[in-house]
Structures are given as structure tokens and as C-alpha cells.
């Protein structure tokens, strides 16, 4: 297994635990209504998602900076993983737009707290999707010849 592939696998595991932790804390603490009122709750969620992002940055930046760990093929796979990232972000934005529009259509306004939640979930989905994209890239390379 290539070093970048191994990191992507760790990234996926971290991302899964990270996402489950944020969703669990969010639900257990009372959801969106409590989130908009309770500053302590917001700080816990902030700590969780910023902590996860830092973990991701450390995971990928350390390998990209270490000589001999990543070559042109790994970089090609990493570049192509952006397609998966882009698709995942679009799908989750569509899900947010449809679910919020349908939920708040009658009120004519959406609580501002959802802007924050959309931003947070976009970052989480984007980082986790990068790991997924890298793993898909390595998998696809098994099947056919890849040209630069």
C-alpha cells in the first residue's frame, strides 16, 4: 500500500469518527435550537470541527512534505480526488437547500444558525471526500492504464 493511500485510509477512519462525534454531540446537546442559544455548546462543536480539520491537515501535509513518500503518480491521484470532493460538496449542498427550503418554506425565513452549520458540514464533507477520492483513485488504477 502506497504511503498516501495509507494516509487516506487513516483519514477516512478519522473522518468517520469525527463526523459521528459531531453529530452525536449535536443531537445529545439539543440540536439546532440549543446551538443558536448556548455559547458553550457552540464552542464544543467549534473545537470538534476545527480539531478534526487540524488532524486532517497534519495527516496530509506531513506526508506531502516528506521526501520520497509521494511521487507524480500519487499527486495525479490526489489531483483527481478533487472531482469526488466537488461532487460530494454539491450533493450535500443540494441536500441542505432542499431540506431547509421544505422545512421553513411556510415561515418564509431560515434561521441564521443554519448558515454556520452548512459551512461546517461543507468543510467536513470536503475533507472526508478527499480521502474517499484518493482511495477510489488507487482502486481505479488497478483496472486500466492511466495516462498523465
Amino acid at each position: 500500500m502506497a504511503p498516501l493511500q495509507r494516509r487516506a485510509l487513516y483519514g477516512l477512519i478519522i473522518g468517520f469518527v469525527w463526523t459521528v462525534a459531531i453529530i452525536a454531540v449535536f443531537i445529545l446537546k439539543g440540536g439546532a435550537s440549543t446551538f443558536s442559544k448556548d455559547q458553550g455548546f457552540r464552542l464544543i462543536i467549534d473545537g470538534l470541527w476545527i480539531g478534526g480539520l487540524i488532524a486532517y491537515l497534519v495527516l496530509f501535509e506531513t506526508i506531502l512534505r516528506r521526501p520520497g513518500q509521494v511521487d507524480e503518480r500519487d499527486k495525479l491521484i490526489m489531483d483527481r480526488s478533487a472531482r469526488v470532493q466537488w461532487l460530494a460538496v454539491i450533493i450535500q449542498l443540494v441536500a441542505w437547500v432542499i431540506s431547509l427550503s421544505e422545512s421553513y418554506w411556510d415561515q418564509g425565513q431560515i434561521p441564521v444558525v443554519f448558515l454556520y452549520l452548512i459551512f461546517m458540514s461543507t468543510l467536513i464533507v470536503s475533507t472526508v471526500a478527499q480521502s474517499v477520492g484518493i482511495l477510489i483513485g488507487y482502486r481505479r488504477m488497478e483496472g486500466r492504464q492511466w495516462l498523465r
Binding site: 511521487d71 507524480e72 503518480r73 488504477m141 492504464q145 495516462l147 498523465r148
Partner: protein, 69 residues
């Protein structure tokens, strides 16, 4: 559809059974890339192709071949 083939495995054998790791170090790439090249799953950049040729001390055409399917 064109296909790029290579003789890397053969050349390694001819060069005192050079290991994939050794070739990877000489060509400045990872061992996994050498494996992918030998299996025909990856076509390298011109730069890496030249580095592999240089690692064996042969011309590019002796390592990589262009085939029309």
C-alpha cells in the same frame, strides 16, 4: 486506441536483478509506482520516463514502446 508498454521488469532482471526499491530510488519515485508501471497500469510523465531510462543507462525507446491497438 494507443497503448504504452514497457520492458522495466526485463531490464531490471538484466541489470543484475535490480530490485523495485532500488529502481524507485534511482528514478526518484515510489516502489508502488514501479509496480504500477510493470503491470502496465500507469504511464509515467516524460521526466520520470527519462529518469527510468537513465537508471538503466539506456534510451527511452528501449524502455517504453508505443503500440497501436
Amino acid at each position: 486506441m494507443a497503448k504504452i508498454t514497457n520492458r522495466i521488469r526485463r531490464l531490471r532482471f538484466d541489470h543484475n536483478e535490480m530490485t523495485q526499491e532500488e529502481l524507485a530510488n534511482r528514478a526518484s519515485c515510489t516502489r508502488q509506482t514501479i509496480i504500477a508501471l510493470e503491470q502496465g497500469k500507469y504511464v509515467p510523465s516524460i521526466t520520470l520516463a527519462f529518469q527510468i531510462g537513465r537508471a538503466f543507462g539506456v534510451k527511452l525507446e528501449e524502455v517504453f514502446q508505443y503500440e497501436e491497438e
